[in-house]
Amino acid sequence: MKLFEFEAKNILRKYGVVTPKGDIAKSLAEAERIARKIGKPVVLKAQVVVSSRGKSGGIIFVNDVTAAREAAVDLIGSTIKGSIVRSLLVEERVNVAEEFYASVTIDRQARRYIVLGSTTGGIDIEQVALASPDRITRHWVDPAVGFSQSMAESMVVKFSNLDKHDSVEFASILHTLHSIAMDYDAELVEINPLAKTDAGQFIAVDARITIDDNALFRHPEFQERSLVTAGDSPWEAKAKQENLTYVDLDGNIGIIGNGAGLVMATLDLVYLSGGRPANFLDVGGGAGPGVVKRAVELVISKPEVAAILVNILGGVTRCDLVAQGIIEGFNESTARKHVVVRLMGTNEDEGAHILHRAGIHTHSSMEEAVREVLKFVS
C-alpha cells in the first residue's frame, strides 16, 4: 500500500528526519490558513500516489496567500492521472543548496533489502544509475547482521565532496530509513529529493513509503485504509470490498479464471486472437460457489462487458462447485450476457453437466473457448 506523502513525512518526523514546515489542507480555507501561518512563499502539493505528479500539474509554487488560495481552488477536487485530489500538503518553500537521494527498497534477485544513497537527487534514480554510477552508493543488508550507523557511514565514504559533518548526517538518514523499513514492513522508503539547505540542514522535500500488503496485519492503523487505495477504478474498489483479485482493462470480454498465471495467459490469448479483455479476475485456488458467484456478478454488471469467458483448470478447485457458482451468479444478475466456460480437471464432468442443464456450453480446451467467446463480440 502506497502511503500519501504527508503520511510518509509524519513517519519520517517521528524518526527525527526534518521535513519542511507545513500541514495538510482539505479545504480552501484550510489551505489559506496554513499559508498565512507559514507567512513565506509556499508550495501546494496534491496528495495523490501517482508517479510524476509534478509533471501533471499536481505541485504549485506560490509567493503569497492570495496565490495560495487560487492554487488550492485549482487543485482540490481535480483529477490527476485518474486520482481525485482530496487533500493538499501546504509547505514552506525550501532554499535548496544541493539535492541528494536516499532510499531503502527490496532487491528481488538478491533477496535482500538494499540501501541506496546518491549525491544526485530530484530526478529518477534509475537515470542517475545509468548516467553517473559513481554518484550512487549501495548496501545489501544481511538480515542476520542488520544495518548499523557505522555501516551507513562507510557507504558514504566514496562521496569525497561531502565533509565530515554532511557524511555523518547523510549516513544517519540512510540508517533511519532502514529502521523505518523494518518497523513498518515497508518495501520502499524514499526521500527524493533530500535537500541540503542554504543553512546546511538536511531536509526531506519529498518522501514515499510503500507498505508490504502482506504485512498489513501487523499495522492495523493502515489496514482499514487499504480497502480504498487511491488509484483504484470504481470496479477495482468494488472488487476489493468483495475480496476479489481484480484489475480493470478497457475491452469488452469479461475474464474469470483460477490462478494468476492462467488468467494472464487467458488475457494474452484473447488479445492475440484479436479480442479485448474487460478485466483480470483470479478467483484463486480452491474457490467455492460463493466466490465464483460474486465474480460473475461483478463482471456481468460492468456495462462494457458484452460476453464472459470463464477459464477453470481444476486441481484443488472443483469444477462442479465453480459451475454452481456460475449459475448462481447469473440467476442473481439482471443483465443478460453471453458466457463461454472452459472446464478441465477435478469433477469436470459433473461441472459440465450442471452447466449444460442450464443451457451453457462448456469446452475442455482453452483455445477453443477463446475462439468461441470472440464470436459473440465481433
Binding site: 527490496i106 534477485q109 538480515p143 490462478g259 498465471g261 494472464m264 494474452d268 488479445y271 486441481g315
Partner: protein
C-alpha cells in the same frame, strides 16, 4: 536420478491438522509420497490420515529421520515455522503458504542459505516427480506423466495447463517445480536449470515465466553464457498486462520499464530460446527439439 525429491524422501507436513494440510496430506499419500509425520504445535499425539502428529519439527525429525518439509501454516506463523524446520536440519523446505510478509521471507531464506536448506516458495505449488510417484505440493497429479521434460514455473494452474499439453504430446515430465508467485522466493530459475543440467532423465526444459522482476532475463543470460546443453522452451504470461498493477501474484507487477513481458521474451529470443505464444505451443516446440 532426480532433483530435489526422490523415492527415499521422507516428508513432514507442517500444519497437518488444518483443512488444507489434511486434504493435501491425503492426496500426497495416495500418490505415493512417503509422509512420516505431521507437525502442529499443541496437537502432538494426534493422528491425521494415520500419520503421527508432533508438537515440533525437531521431534518429528528425531523420530523419523525426515529430510523434507511441506508447510501449510498461516502466513503470520510462517517465519517461526520455517526457522523451526531449518533448525531441525530439514534439507528441502516447500512453502505453500501465501501472503507471507516479504521481510519474513527474506529472513528465513537467508537463514536457510546459511544452513544449506533449499527453500521452494513461498506461495508455491510444490514439486512433483511422476516417474518416482512422489509429490510434495498441491498439484493436480493427473495432468502429469512420467517423462523427459523438466518444468519450472512461477505459476500454478498455468503450469498444469502446459504440463497437460506436454503429457499429451507423449513427452511427460521428469520433475516439475513451481517456484512460487511471490517477489521473494528461495529457489530461482537459474538454480533449477543448474540442477536439470546434468540430470540424465531430463532431455529438455520448460521455463514458465511471467511479468515482474528480472528472473527470466537472468535465466536467459545463464543459458547463453554457460552453453546450456539441453533444449529449452519458454512461455511468458502477461504480454498485455497494464503497468503498476499487481496481476494476482504478489510478484507479477511491472514497475516503470522493468519486468515487462517484452523484455523477458526479447532476452529469451536473444539467447536462442524459442518462446511459445500460447500454452499449447510449448509442447509443439518441445516435440521438434527433444529427442527421447
Amino acid at each position: 536420478m532426480s532433483i530435489l525429491i526422490d523415492r527415499d524422501s521422507r516428508v513432514v507436513v507442517q500444519g497437518i491438522t488444518g483443512n488444507e494440510g489434511r486434504f493435501h496430506t491425503r492426496a500426497m499419500l495416495h500418490y505415493g509420497t512417503r509422509i512420516v509425520g505431521g507437525v502442529t504445535p499443541g496437537k502432538g499425539g494426534q493422528r491425521v490420515e494415520g500419520i503421527p502428529v508432533y508438537d515440533t519439527v525437531g521431534e518429528a525429525v528425531r523420530n523419523n529421520s525426515v529430510d523434507t518439509s511441506i508447510m501449510f501454516v498461516p502466513a503470520a506463523n510462517a517465519l517461526s515455522a520455517a526457522f523451526e524446520a531449518i533448525d531441525a536440519g530439514i534439507k528441502t523446505l516447500v512453502v505453500i503458504t501465501e501472503s507471507i510478509p516479504q521481510k519474513d521471507a527474506i529472513e528465513f531464506i537467508a537463514k536457510a542459505d546459511r544452513a544449506g536448506t533449499v527453500v521452494v516458495g513461498p506461495n508455491a505449488p510444490g514439486v512433483i516427480n511422476p516417474g518416482a510417484r512422489i509429490h510434495v505440493g498441491v498439484m493436480p497429479v493427473h495432468v502429469f506423466r512420467p517423462g523427459v521434460i523438466g518444468m519450472v514455473s512461477r505459476s500454478g494452474t498455468l503450469t498444469y495447463e502446459i504440463a497437460w499439453h506436454v503429457s499429451n504430446a507423449d513427452l511427460g515430465q521428469s520433475t516439475c517445480i513451481g517456484i512460487g508467485g511471490d517477489a521473494i522466493v528461495g529457489l530461482d530459475f537459474i538454480k533449477i536449470l543448474d540442477m536439470f543440467r546434468d540430470e540424465e532423465d531430463t532431455k529438455g526444459v520448460v521455463i514458465i515465466g511471467e511479468i515482474g522482476g528480472n528472473a527470466e532475463e537472468l535465466a536467459a543470460q545463464y543459458i547463453r553464457e554457460t552453453n546450456y546443453p539441453k533444449p529449452v522452451v519458454a512461455y511468458v504470461a502477461g504480454r498485455f498486462a497494464p503497468p503498476e498493477k499487481r496481476m494476482g501474484h504478489a510478484g507479477a507487477i511491472i514497475m516503470g520499464n522493468s519486468g515487462t513481458a517484452k523484455s523477458k521474451i526479447d532476452a529469451f529470443v536473444d539467447a536462442g530460446i524459442p518462446v511459445a505464444e500460447k500454452p499449447s505451443k510449448v509442447a509443439e516446440l518441445l516435440k521438434t527439439l527433444v529427442k527421447k
